[in-house]
């Protein structure tokens, strides 16, 4: 077994048989409120140091899955385990450890940072809200280093940065509490192409250098393939296929996977004149 083969290690973060439903508005005054099943019997996991992907069309339930995986939402049915223990019944100490160890990076860096707060304060904020002690300044410098930002950034405000730099800052903030798992929900789709590559490379380095686990969510299969080694495909609230990126590309089994693969435009297929089918 290679040193980085994680397939035999138990999952660090896992959801089992998770179902989530939302009540919709009543169709008629006295009728029952119809239920929308957004996640249907989902099993999903990530092992220590592993980078896994989650792809699916818009509305398939990816962000809902993220909210449940991070404890922001309680599933209607099923369980979420962190380090082998159910987070909803594992007690206060375990809950704290779980919240600290699982951090998220969202799609739009500009709306995820407070515009009136200096970057330095934004970075310290998770330490305060999670009540983490220690040498905060040292931690800030360490994290800035990991994401390739200089200390000058600390005194400045979000509007003084480009989208790509802000996404680095958002990643830095997620790293502050020393998480074991980073969940990134469409982290590059709001960024320019030339900047997307910088952020994707950074995420990859964090997995390799810090041994972080990464859950990378997107609707573009090629971006996910670049960053992860195992990908789950979602469609209408279910996971319909799981595989290595290469296998999903070459032999997509589920219809949803075939649609996603078929939807990928490349420069070469475009020039060949058959991209739009």
């Amino acid at each position: 077994m290679a040193a980085n083969d994680t397939s035999l290690v138990p999952p660090l973060l896992e959801m089992r048989q998770v179902t989530q439903t939302y009540a919709l508005n009543r169709q008629s005054l006295l009728g029952a409120r119809p239920q929308l099943t957004v996640l249907d019997n989902i099993h999903f996991d990530v092992r220590p140091g592993e980078a896994v992907g989650l792809v699916g069309e818009s509305g398939s339930g990816k962000t809902t899955l993220t909210r449940i995986l991070t404890g922001m939402e309680k599933p209607r049915e099923g369980h979420v385990f962190y380090d082998g223990r159910d987070v909803w019944t594992g007690g206060a100490e375990h809950w704290r450890e779980f919240r600290r160890s699982v951090q998220v990076v969202m799609q739009n860096p500009r709306s995820s940072l407070d515009p009136r707060m200096r970057i330095g304060s934004s970075l310290l904020e998770p330490l305060r809200s999670l009540k983490i002690d220690g040498d905060h300044a040292a931690r800030v410098f360490e994290v800035l280093d990991q994401v390739g930002l200089t200390r000058q950034a600390l005194e400045r405000y979000p509007h003084e940065f480009s989208g790509g730099q802000l996404q680095r800052i958002a990643i830095a903030r997620a790293l502050m509490p020393g998480p074991k798992v980073l969940i990134a929900d469409e982290p590059v789709s709001a960024l320019d192409v030339s900047i997307q590559a910088q952020v994707l490379n950074l995420l990859k380095d964090l997995v390799n250098n810090l041994g972080l686990s990464l859950v990378f969510i997107a609707h573009d299969l090629s971006v996910v393939a670049y960053t992860t080694s195992r990908v789950s495909v979602m469609s209408a609230g279910r996971i319909v296929e799981v595989g290595k990126p290469m296998d999903l590309f070459v032999r997509p089994q589920a219809e949803a996977t075939q649609n996603l693969v078929g939807a990928i435009l490349t420069v070469e297929s475009g020039l060949a004149g058959n991209a739009l089918g």
């Binding site: 980078a51 069309e57 818009s58 480009s162 989208g163 790509g164 730099q165 320019d192 192409v193 030339s194 900047i195 997307q196 590559a197 910088q198 994707l200 490379n201 990859k204 609707h219 573009d220 299969l221 090629s222 971006v223 393939a225 670049y226 992860t228 080694s229 290595k244 990126p245 290469m246 590309f249 649609n259 996603l260 078929g262 939807a263 990928i264 435009l265 490349t266 420069v267 070469e268 297929s269 475009g270 020039l271 004149g273 991209a275 739009l276 089918g277």
Partner: protein, 328 residues
């Protein structure tokens, strides 16, 4: 102006009192031709489009000349421009929700464009609207006439916008990031509909996007913008296969596509270091020089201009230039 050209743009400059965002564009689009306009966020693509449409935001002004349909759009009155929009030239905006009226039925919004520019009766305009919806493969076109914008999906709204832009068979359509807000699967459907609809009408198309594969699929030529200028232009296949400008090459290399990544996780994407310079402090010489590995002293002080020929680039040291030419 020859009627064979859908638009001729000469030295287009767009500025406000403090900043110049578009710094001298030149391009000609023959009738029925398709040009892609690609560039990073803030490079001036949308302001260029708005200048051509006569829709610049408050405080912005366009100079230069924009010949279209026998007139110079820059010198036209607001009234003349507004009678032209939707008729000879029309635009599809990036965010359909903000460009549709939330409290009017969709059908009414599209058919009123037809009525404004043609003699069509109300009934006739409605019939043509339903036809347009059908052409755009929109489901249940009759019901859609009486739907509100928030009641349909993003992909459907964007197809409505395209239907509206195409309603009067304009000579030129400008589409500004028409599919960026859409899911990849929906994106392809919308592009396919736009593609055939433009083709059927023989309209010219300016496709604005930072997505190179979309330009490869939809356009004949491409102009690459950086910091308010065109830095490279030419036939799409040639520019994308053999870029001459270092920024174009950087863009192509940073695409995570099947062409340039190994799927075993071992590869790294090439990326352009640094960031786009802010307009108020553009670097001297070639604006790209702080990010360019090939930059020399000359690049830092002298502004390169587009060279001549079918494969134009504004670069002191274009890629491929050192390869000896075959001597006849």
């Amino acid at each position: 102006m020859s009627q064979e050209n859908a638009i001729e743009v000469r030295n287009l400059v767009v500025h406000n009192t403090a900043l110049t965002a578009v710094r001298g564009l030149d391009f000609t689009l023959p009738a029925g031709a398709r040009m892609g306009l690609v560039g990073e966020s803030g490079s001036g693509k949308t302001l260029t489009a708005l200048a051509l449409m006569g829709l610049l935001p408050m405080g912005w002004q366009a100079n230069g000349s924009v010949r279209h349909d026998g007139v110079d759009l820059i010198t036209q009155s607001d009234r003349a421009l507004s009678s032209r929009r939707g008729r000879t030239i029309s635009m599809v905006f990036q965010d359909p929700l903000s460009s549709l009226d939330p409290v009017r039925h969709i059908g009414q919004q599209v058919s009123s464009v037809i009525r404004r520019h043609t003699q069509a009766s109300k009934k006739e305009a409605e019939r043509r609207t339903v036809d347009l919806f059908r052409q755009m493969s929109l489901p249940r076109p009759e019901q859609l006439m009486r739907a509100y914008p928030h009641e349909i999906s993003g992909g459907q709204r964007q197809r409505i916008m395209i239907a509206m832009a195409l309603a009067c068979y304009p000579q030129l359509i400008i589409a500004d990031e028409p599919t960026t807000a859409l899911d990849v699967t929906v994106q392809k459907q919308v592009l396919r509909r736009l593609n055939t609809a433009v083709q059927e009408r023989g309209s010219a198309l300016i496709m604005i996007t930072h997505d190179l594969p979309i330009i490869a699929a939809m356009c004949d030529t491409v102009a690459v913008m950086y910091a308010g200028k065109i830095v490279e232009m030419g036939p799409v296949a040639e520019v994308f296969r053999n870029p001459r400008h270092h920024y174009t090459k950087g863009l192509l290399d940073s695409q995570p596509t099947m062409d340039n990544i190994a799927l075993d996780g071992s590869s790294r994407l090439a990326s352009i270091p640094g960031m786009v310079p802010p307009l108020h402090s553009l670097p001297a010489g070639c604006a790209f020089h702080p990010r360019c590995a090939a930059a020399t002293e000359q690049c830092m002080s002298e502004v390169p201009t587009l060279d001549d020929g079918p494969r134009r680039a504004a670069c002191w040291h274009p890629i491929g230039a050192t390869v000896p030419m075959e001597v006849a």
